[in-house]
C-alpha cells in the first residue's frame, strides 16, 4: 500500500478532494499543501442513501442518516459495538438517580467544545432534549415518560420522569437524542419551546450542516449523491483519524463491488451474499461482520374474519414448525444471519443463540403435521401474505416469500403471495387489515422494553390479538426490573409465552457484512442504530 502514501496531487486529485468550489470554501483552513497527503486522508464509503431525507437529529432519521449523525454529534451515554447491555459514558461521565428518586441526574464531561467553539453545557442538553420532546415527531414518542429537563448547574442536568422505573438510559443512547449546540441551532431557526412544532425552522440548515461535539462535521449533502464530512478540530476525544469523509450514494451492490475492488471506495455496505463470497479471493479487501439487532419476521393475524384457520393457535404453530429457517440462512443469505427465539434479538438481554435452540421454533415437519391435526386441519389450509417488493438484507422479500411458500407446501399449507408497494404494506399492516405480512423490524433504541411493549400493544392491535393479562404484566415487570439477572429471566419467560402464541415468527436476524479495503485497519460496525461507528475507523 506504499503507493497510497506518496501521491503528487494533480489538479484533478485536488479537485476531487476539495470538491468543486472547494478551494474557496477552505478560506481560513491551514495551508492547502497540508492536504497533499492525498487519498489517504479521505475515507470514502459506498452505501445506498436513498432513504435519507433529513439529517436533523430530531426528525425521523430512517436507516442511513444515523451513521452521519452519530459521527457529528454525541449523546449523553453510548453503547460500544458488541455490548448492547451496558451503557458507556458519552457526554455524561456519570449518572445516578436524583435525590428525590423521580429522575436521573447526569454529570457532564469537562472541557467539551462544539465544532463552532462554543462550550457544551447543561443548557445545551436541555435545549436539545426539549426540542425533541416538543417538536412531536417520531422520536418524541420515546420520551413521553419525561416530564421535564432541568439545569442544575453548568455541568449537571436532571431528567425528571413520570414513572422513574421505566427505562430511560438505553433510549438516550439512540442518535435522535444527541446534544446540539443551542446557540448555533437557535441562530438558524431552531426552537425548543413548547411551541416548537409550529415555530421550529432549523431543519433546513441542519440538513446541510451540523452543530455537534462529534469528531466530524457535516458540510454538504447532495440528495442521492453524496454526504461530505470534515474533521472537527475541537473534538474532545482527540484528533480525528481522517480529514474528510465522503459517503457516496450507490444504487446497487455490483457497482459498489467494482468500485471497492478498484479502490475508488474504502468500504461497501450493500453487497449481496454472492458478492461478498467473490471478495474472499481478493487480497486487498477484508470483510467486517457484525450481528445486527434488526430482523425479518412473519406476522399472523388472529382475526377469524380475515382467515379462520390462522385464528387457531395450533395452525399458527404448524407454520412455525414447517419453515426451513436454516435453509433461509444458508441458502438465501450465505450463512450471514442468526435467529432469535422471538421478538427480542440475539445479543440483547435475555436472548442468545442458545435461547433460540432451547425455546424457539425450528424446522420439524412431523411436529408441524401434528399441530395441523390438533387444529383440525390435517390437510392443511390456505392463507395470504403481503410484503413489499424491495430488497432486504442482501436478498429480496420476493425470494424469501417464495422460499417460505415452498416450505409450507410440504405440509399442505398453501401461502398465497401478494406483493405490493411498501407504502401499501405499511398502511395495511398498520390498520391490521392483512391476514399475514412479512416485514422488517429495526430498533429505534436498544431497549428490550421497547420490543416487549410494541408486541403487546400496537403490534397486538394490528394482529387482532388480545394478549393475556399475565403476559402484559410480565412485560411491565420485566421492563422495570432493575436487577439485570432477574430481568433476563423475565424476558426469557416472555419469549416462551410468545413462541407458544406463534403469531410473530422471526425468520432471521441479518449479520452485517461490509467489504473494507486493507488500507483501513479498523472499521467498527454497530447494531445500536448507526450501522458503523465512524469515529472508530482507522487507516492502516
Amino acid at each position: 500500500m506504499k503507493q497510497d502514501q506518496v501521491i503528487s496531487v494533480s489538479r484533478r486529485d485536488l479537485l476531487r478532494l476539495l470538491g468543486s468550489g472547494g478551494v474557496a470554501s477552505l478560506a481560513g483552513w491551514p495551508a492547502i499543501s497540508a492536504l497533499a497527503q492525498g487519498r489517504k486522508d479521505t475515507l470514502v464509503i459506498g452505501i445506498d442513501t436513498s432513504d435519507s431525507t433529513e439529517f436533523d437529529p430530531v426528525r425521523d432519521l430512517h436507516y442511513t442518516p444515523p451513521m452521519t449523525v452519530s459521527a457529528c454529534y454525541d449523546c449523553l451515554v453510548t453503547m460500544t459495538p458488541g455490548d448492547y447491555i451496558n451503557l458507556k459514558p458519552g457526554l455524561a461521565t456519570s449518572w445516578a438517580r436524583t435525590p428525590d428518586g423521580q429522575g436521573w441526574r447526569f454529570t457532564l464531561r469537562d472541557n467539551v467544545k462544539f465544532a463552532s467553539g462554543n462550550p457544551m453545557t447543561a443548557h445545551d442538553v436541555k435545549f436539545s432534549l426539549d426540542r425533541v420532546r416538543y417538536i412531536q415527531f417520531q422520536s418524541s414518542q420515546y420520551l413521553t415518560n419525561v416530564t421535564s429537563v432541568n439545569v442544575v448547574d453548568d455541568r449537571t442536568v436532571d431528567i425528571m420522569l413520570k414513572n422513574p422505573n421505566e427505562p430511560l438510559l438505553t433510549i438516550l443512547a439512540a442518535p435522535s437524542f444527541v446534544v446540539t449546540d443551542r446557540k448555533v441551532v437557535a441562530e438558524h431557526g431552531g426552537d425548543a419551546s413548547p411551541d416548537s412544532k409550529q415555530k421550529d425552522k432549523g431543519t433546513e440548515w441542519l440538513n446541510q450542516n451540523s452543530a455537534g461535539t462529534g469528531p466530524y462535521r457535516l458540510t454538504q449533502w447532495v440528495r442521492n449523491s453524496q454526504i461530505q464530512l470534515v474533521a472537527n478540530p475541537n473534538y474532545w476525544g482527540g484528533k480525528p483519524a481522517f480529514q474528510r469523509i465522503v459517503i457516496r450514494h450507490f444504487e446497487d451492490g455490483s457497482a459498489q463491488l467494482l468500485s471497492l475492488r478498484r479502490g475508488d471506495i474504502d468500504a461497501a455496505f450493500n453487497l449481496l451474499p454472492e458478492q461478498v463470497t467473490s471478495l474472499k479471493s481478493d487480497s486487498n479487501v477484508w470483510i467486517a461482520r457484525h450481528i445486527s439487532l434488526d430482523f425479518v419476521y412473519l406476522a399472523l393475524s388472529h382475526s377469524p374474519e380475515l382467515n379462520k384457520a390462522l385464528a387457531n393457535k395450533s395452525a399458527r404453530q404448524a407454520i412455525g414448525w414447517a419453515i426451513d429457517y436454516d435453509g433461509i440462512r444458508d441458502g438465501l443469505l450465505g450463512g450471514s444471519a442468526t435467529r432469535p427465539a422471538n421478538f427480542i434479538p440475539v445479543g440483547s438481554l435475555g436472548s442468545s443463540e442458545d435461547t433460540t435452540k432451547e425455546i424457539g421454533f425450528r424446522q420439524d415437519l412431523d411436529r408441524a403435521k401434528k399441530a395441523l391435526a390438533q387444529a383440525g386441519l390435517p390437510d392443511g389450509f390456505e392463507f395470504e401474505v403481503i410484503y413489499g417488493n424491495s430488497m432486504v438484507a442482501g436478498t429480496s422479500y420476493h425470494v424469501i416469500a417464495q422460499k417460505v411458500q415452498a416450505d409450507l407446501a410440504r405440509v399442505g399449507i398453501k401461502m398465497k403471495l401478494n406483493p405490493m408497494p411498501q407504502v401499501n404494506v405499511r398502511t395495511l399492516y398498520n390498520g391490521g387489515k392483512m391476514q399475514s405480512v412479512i416485514t422488517y423490524w429495526n430498533p429505534p433504541a436498544v431497549e428490550n422494553a421497547l420490543w416487549g411493549w410494541a408486541t403487546v400493544q400496537r403490534v397486538a392491535k394490528r394482529l387482532n390479538w388480545k394478549p393475556t393479562e399475565t403476559l402484559v404484566k410480565l412485560v411491565d415487570q420485566a421492563s422495570m426490573e432493575q436487577d439485570q439477572k432477574k430481568q433476563a429471566e423475565l424476558w426469557r419467560q416472555y419469549q416462551i409465552a410468545m413462541v407458544d402464541e406463534a403469531n410473530l415468527l422471526v425468520l432471521f436476524q441479518p449479520i452485517y457484512q461490509v467489504g473494507v479495503r486493507k488500507s483501513i485497519k479498523d472499521f467498527p460496525l454497530t447494531a445500536a442504530g448507526w450501522q458503523a461507528d465512524l469515529r472508530g475507523v482507522r487507516p492502516a
Binding site: E274, G331, N389, Q402, L417, M420, P421, N424
Partner: protein, 299 residues
C-alpha cells in the same frame, strides 16, 4: 454495372436506375424478399408450440424450490443453470412463454379491435364526432403509461389481468390514429360515393367496403405490435408489476437476476427469449408489409 439478365424491360430500367444487379431467378428473389419473414414465422410457431407443450417439454417443474441448488451454472443437469431459489432456469423459460405470448396477443388484438373501431367511426363520421374522438385519443396518448400502470397496480393489486387492463387502456390509441388515417383516405374514393348512391348504410360501407382496403397496414401494425407488447409486459414485470410470483415470466426473471453479474445466466436467457420472439414478430411484420407494398412488388 448493369448486366442485362433482364426478364423484362421494366426490370432493366429499374436495374439501371438503382445501379444494382437484379436477381437471377424467381426463387432467389422470393427468398431474398420473404426469407426473413419465413424465418420469423418459424420462430413464432416454435415458441407457440413451446408455450402449448411446456408442461411436457420442461425437465423440471418451474416452481420447484431447492435452496441447496441455487445459482448453479449451466450444466448437464440444468442446461441453463438455476436461479436464486434453485429453480431450473430452462423450465421457467419454457413456461414463461405461455404468459408472454398469451398476454401480448390478447392485449394487441383487443386494443386493435377497439382502436380500429374508434378510428374508423371517427373518420367516417367526420365533424365534431371525429374531433371529439381524436382529442380523446390524444388524451390517452399523452398519459405516461408507467404512472398509469403503477396506479392501477397500486389500486387493484398486481397480477396478470390487472396489468393487461393497464396496458389495454394505453394500447388502443395508436390503432385509432392509424385506422382514422387509412379510412380517411378511402372515404373520399369513388367507390364509397357509389356505395352511398346505391343506398348502403354507413355501417355496411365501413365494414364491407372500406375496411378490407384499409386492412393491410393495420395487419402489419398488429403483427409488429405483438412484439412491442411482449417487451412492455416484460418491462412492467421487471419493475415489479406484472405477474404474481412465483409465476414464471421473462421480465421478472431478468429483474431477479439483475444484480447477479457473476451469475449471468439468470437474467441473460430470459432476455434472449424475449429478443428472439420479438425478432420473429418483427421479421414477419416486415415481410407482410413488403408483400402488401405494390411498389415493391414491381421487382
Amino acid at each position: 454495372m448493369t448486366e442485362s439478365v433482364a426478364v423484362s424491360d421494366a426490370v432493366q430500367v429499374a436495374a439501371a436506375e438503382y445501379n444494382i444487379a437484379p436477381s437471377s431467378t424467381k426463387g432467389q428473389r422470393w427468398r431474398r424478399r420473404y426469407g426473413l419473414a419465413a424465418i420469423g414465422a418459424a420462430i413464432i410457431v416454435i415458441w407457440m408450440l413451446v408455450a402449448v407443450f411446456a408442461p411436457w417439454i420442461a425437465p423440471y417443474k418451474p416452481d420447484l424450490v431447492d435452496v441447496t441448488q441455487r445459482l448453479l451454472p449451466p450444466s448437464s443437469l440444468h442446461w441453463l443453470g438455476t436461479d436464486a431459489l434453485g429453480r431450473d432456469v430452462l423450465s421457467r423459460l419454457l413456461y414463461g412463454a405461455r404468459v408472454s405470448l398469451f398476454v401480448s396477443i390478447i392485449v394487441v388484438l383487443l386494443g386493435a379491435a377497439f382502436g380500429i373501431f374508434v378510428g374508423g367511426v371517427a373518420a367516417y363520421a367526420g365533424g365534431w364526432v371525429e374531433h371529439g374522438l381524436m382529442r380523446f385519443t390524444d388524451l390517452v396518448l399523452c398519459f405516461p403509461p408507467i404512472i398509469l400502470a403503477m396506479a392501477i397496480a397500486a389500486a387493484l393489486g398486481i397480477g396478470t389481468v390487472n396489468t393487461m387492463i393497464a396496458m389495454l387502456v394505453v394500447w388502443w390509441p395508436k390503432f385509432a390514429r392509424l385506422a382514422r388515417g387509412l379510412v380517411l383516405v378511402q372515404r373520399h374514393q369513388e367507390y364509397v360515393e357509389a356505395a352511398h348512391v346505391i343506398g348502403y348504410g354507413p355501417g355496411r360501407v365501413l365494414w364491407k367496403h372500406i375496411m378490407p382496403n384499409a386492412l393491410g397496414p393495420l395487419i402489419v401494425l398488429i403483427t409488429l405490435d405483438v412484439g412491442h407488447a411482449i417487451i412492455v409486459f416484460a418491462g412492467l414485470s421487471f419493475l415489479g408489476l406484472g405477474v404474481v410470483p412465483p409465476t414464471p415470466e421473462w421480465g421478472a426473471m431478468v429483474s431477479e437476476g439483475r444484480e447477479l453479474v457473476e451469475q449471468w445466466w439468470c437474467a441473460t436467457f430470459a432476455g434472449l427469449a424475449i429478443f428472439t420472439v420479438v425478432m420473429g414478430f418483427n421479421f414477419l411484420g416486415d415481410g407482410i408489409r413488403d408483400w402488401l407494398d405494390p411498389r415493391a412488388r414491381r421487382r
